[in-house]
């Protein structure tokens, strides 16, 4: 197990080097000069002298490999650089927004589980009935409704008239989390419920279910203990990817609910060509993805004892 974990940690290094370097190159290729954008944003006249000075100050004078290496050197020393726009440390900017993002991701996942588990299971058991069709329709609506629209509907028809739930912002307690989580979780639940239904149906055809039935086990035990556990494995795999995306911030939802998460920080940084913030964000995302997938792999053990965490045997789904 330890050996396995160590090995997985080592894979972090090439992954992070790869994504950050590619981001560096992409940023360089993208049109738009950060120095010029910074000058315009601050109402500074864009003269060649001012541009030169701004480039110097932003450390853009050096060639790309030199810039990358000096950035890397900073990272190793725990310094992600300073934001081009505010002049504040990138790490502080990201960390101050991370709790809001984690909170929203967890809220969205909770809503997703609450909806998808019962709905997916019910749809599989009620296969072909009216309930199943209704579930399919709901899932279709859920998966296709754009989140900004659902968010606005919830704000306009629930939050504003009733005033039970805040319209926006990360207020005190968890109440402010309700609408963004529903908006986020609803679309996810649709996808996951369908996936769970399909997997469950597949598993229910298998021999071991039939033999369980012939042994006269209770249906709840068959579904819950045998079928659902097996059907959840692909769901958990997908969950790793979904969670990664959620931790990247959900820009649209963050915007609609004025949620102070990292997604908006990243998008603003892209528009401003705020290289240090983009780099810091990419680094964070790389770490998050690798870690989450590791967690997912470990979780297989609980779902399927056949999976061993030994060298070379880690099942990656």
């Amino acid at each position: 197990m330890l050996k396995y974990l160590a090995k997985r940690f080592l894979t972090l290094i090439p992954v992070l080097l790869g994504v950050t370097f590619i981001t560096f190159i992409l940023m360089d290729i993208a049109p738009g000069d950060p120095a010029e954008i910074m000058l315009s944003r601050r109402d500074i006249e864009v003269t060649p002298e001012n541009l030169e000075r701004a480039r110097e100050a932003l450390g853009l004078g050096e060639p790309l490999p030199v810039r990358y290496l000096s950035w890397l050197q900073g990272v190793i020393q725990g310094n992600l650089g300073t934001s081009f726009t505010t002049g504040e440390p990138v790490s502080r900017e990201i960390i101050s927004r991370l709790p809001a993002t984690i909170e929203l991701a967890a809220g969205g996942l909770a809503v997703m589980f609450i909806l998808a588990l019962p709905l997916g299971t019910a749809a599989a058991l009620l296969r072909g009935t009216f309930g199943d069709h209704l579930g399919r329709l709901t899932a279709l609506v859920g998966a296709s409704i754009p989140s900004f629209y659902l968010g606005l509907l919830l704000i306009t028809y629930i939050a504003v008239p009733t005033q039970w739930i805040p319209v926006m912002g990360r207020g005190e307690g968890l109440i402010g989390l309700v609408l963004p989580s529903i908006t986020l979780g609803f679309g996810l639940a649709a996808t996951y419920a369908r996936l769970l239904r399909a997997n469950l149906l597949e598993v229910l055809q298998l021999d071991f279910i039939r033999s369980a039935r012939s042994r006269g086990l209770k249906e709840t035990v068959i579904i819950g203990n045998y079928a659902l556990r097996n059907a959840l494995i692909p769901v958990v795999t997908l969950l790793g990817i979904t969670m990664g995306h959620l931790l990247g911030g959900t820009v649209v939802i963050e915007r609609i609910f004025a949620w102070p998460g990292v997604g908006r920080l990243a998008v603003d940084a892209i528009f401003d060509r705020n290289y240090p913030v983009i780099q810091g964000y990419v680094l964070l995302m790389g770490v998050a993805f690798v870690f989450l997938n590791l967690l997912i792999d470990i979780s297989y053990r609980f779902l399927d004892p056949r999976v061993k965490m030994e060298e070379g045997e880690g099942q990656t789904g």
């Binding site: 934001s83 909770a110 319209v167 709840t220």
Partner: protein, 525 residues
């Protein structure tokens, strides 16, 4: 088995939630949360005198950080400048009580207001002002306003003298508001132009910034007296629909900034009891500009023709629901003294437009209209471009619209890879406009890719900026306005009118042409 697994699943979910909640609680120990509790009270309209803090929703971040010239936007009321402008855009004393110029217009004497203190308790005097002016003249964002400054010296405790190397009648206007912002010398970085903290002289002190909110506290020793409202929060709400919903739900008490409420949102809000909407003409105008070096728009006749195709009245009525003033002058109509009475330069004239375009535009020429998507989110530039395209097509002229985001846009306009584009611009003094857009090689003239050059205009601009006789100066600016119409490197499309609003218990909240609310006057009922 199933039960155990379900248990694990539930426990994991619970642990996750607990983790999240804990991270929220960590924040709750922060004084920030305490304030938010009070914020809840705002919703309770029956509870007299408990509406503190006043939460103002804004559409952009007013926190700029330590490298910026003022750290925070002026609307926050944390800092004040030496000079402000009155409704006619004439200089008005602020922290300077009296401003006098020597006859040659080169020596300016500022008699400063006495009894003003910074939020750290330090006195505001001529020495503090001098330190600030040295900083501002070195700061890249404000150095332009001081480019003719030779010397700044303290004559007496409250008397400051600035010497310029040329006559500059508009000097007080040039340093009004942002470029004259005064901060406690204690927070000015010793080696550099940054600020360690925004310690100004305004009615509100900066408390902290977090989660897109700026927290302010009333400054008890403010020179006009103690502000009525104890604390104010500026909340950055990026989405325009959410902002309006937040006002409806009472989660913000006011929405105050340029373009904060869109014209199309007015009908929805107008009839809601408890919400008051107001309109203010602001200094921002929307322009159409041309790449004056590339054919066919290198020909001024073609540029004028395209300008005359725009029915500006119709545009304002249909695209802005009347919340704009049709573009009549290249400088803001608020600068009344510098305009002539008729303002007929940019009238809609389809016949003349047709004649100009048919006579000068070769067959098969295709016009390239460039739209910046970041601006188009705030001003209806895409619709204006579409309108222009339709009008051009009616005359058999081909055109295409390209919409791109800010970074790519900046690069493209600088390379001159366009014929026509649109942009917002905010200016005060007429010289502001002519010396940034018309003078050869000047800031926006170059950075927006206009590349207009006229020796005649350059001469007039030089003469006007130094002319101490106001009437003569006005004549020169009128002449320049004629010339700019004749050459039309850029033309006004409309002048912005901003709608803003507040709950009815917020009294005296007025936004001015600079989008700045005077928070000192505000009280809650």
């Amino acid at each position: 088995m199933f039960k155990r697994n379900l248990f694990i699943l539930i426990m994991t979910a619970a642990a996750m939630l607990a983790l999240v909640w804990a991270s929220g609680c960590e924040e709750a120990e922060d004084p920030l949360e305490g304030l938010e509790d009070e914020e809840e009270v705002v919703v309770d309209e029956n509870d007299e005198g408990q509406k503190d803090p006043l939460t103002i929703g804004v559409g952009r971040d007013f926190y700029y950080g330590s490298e910026d010239r003022t750290y925070l936007h002026g609307s926050t009321n944390v800092w004040e400048g030496l000079v402000y402008l009155d409704e006619d855009l004439e200089p008005e004393p602020w922290l300077a009580e009296e401003i006098t110029a020597s006859e040659d217009g080169k020596t300016w004497t500022f008699r400063l207001r006495e009894g003003v203190t910074f939020h750290d308790g330090e006195y505001f005097d001529a020495e503090a002002a001098r330190v600030n002016i040295v900083r501002l003249s070195e700061h890249p964002q404000t150095s332009d306003s001081y480019k003719y400054m030779e010397n700044v010296q303290v004559l007496d405790t409250y008397i400051l003298e600035i010497e310029l190397n040329r006559p500059l009648p508009a000097f007080p206007v040039l340093i009004s508001y942002f470029p004259g912002a005064m901060f406690s010398p204690a927070v000015i970085e010793a080696d550099g132009t940054g600020l360690e903290a925004p310690v100004g002289t305004g009615p509100y002190t900066f408390d902290r910034y977090g989660e897109d909110k700026i927290f302010l506290q009333a400054y008890g020793n403010y020179w006009k007296g103690e502000p009525n409202v104890g604390s104010v929060i500026f909340h950055h709400i990026p989405d325009e629909a959410t902002r309006v919903s937040a006002l409806q739900a009472g989660e913000v008490d006011a929405l105050v900034d340029v373009g904060i409420i869109l014209p199309e949102q007015v009908p929805e809000l107008e009839n809601i009891a408890g919400i008051e909407l107001k309109t203010q003409q602001v200094l921002t105008s929307i322009y159409m500009f041309f790449q004056t070096e590339s054919a066919p728009v290198d020909n001024p006749e073609i540029r004028r023709g395209i300008s005359k195709l725009l029915d500006r009245e119709e545009l304002v009525d249909s695209l802005l629901d009347g919340y704009g003033e049709p573009g009549r002058a290249v400088i803001t109509p608020l600068a009344g003294f510098w305009l002539d009475d008729e303002l007929t330069r940019y009238e809609y004239d389809p016949e003349e437009a047709k004649r100009l375009l048919e006579e000068n535009l070769a067959e098969g020429e295709k016009l390239h209209i460039l739209v910046n998507s970041s601006w188009a989110a705030r001003w209806p530039m895409s619709s204006i471009a579409q309108y222009l395209l339709t009008e051009l097509n009616k005359l058999g002229i081909e055109a295409e619209i390209e919409t791109i985001e800010m970074g790519a846009y900046s690069e493209k306009v600088q390379q001159g890879d366009f014929h026509i584009s649109f942009c917002p611009w905010t200016g005060q003094d007429p010289d502001d406009f002519f010396s940034s857009w018309i003078q050869t090689g000047s800031g926006f003239n170059r950075s927006r890719g206009v590349e207009f050059s006229s020796a005649e205009a350059d001469q007039l601009i030089e003469a006007a900026v130094q002319e101490m006789d106001r009437d003569k100066r006005r004549e020169l600016y009128l002449e320049l306005q004629d010339l700019v119409e004749e050459k039309s490197p850029l033309v006004p499309v409309y002048h912005d009118l901003s709608v803003y609003g507040a709950r009815d218990y917020v009294k005296n909240l007025e936004m001015d042409f600079n989008f700045r609310p005077d928070l000192f006057k505000v009280y809650l009922e």
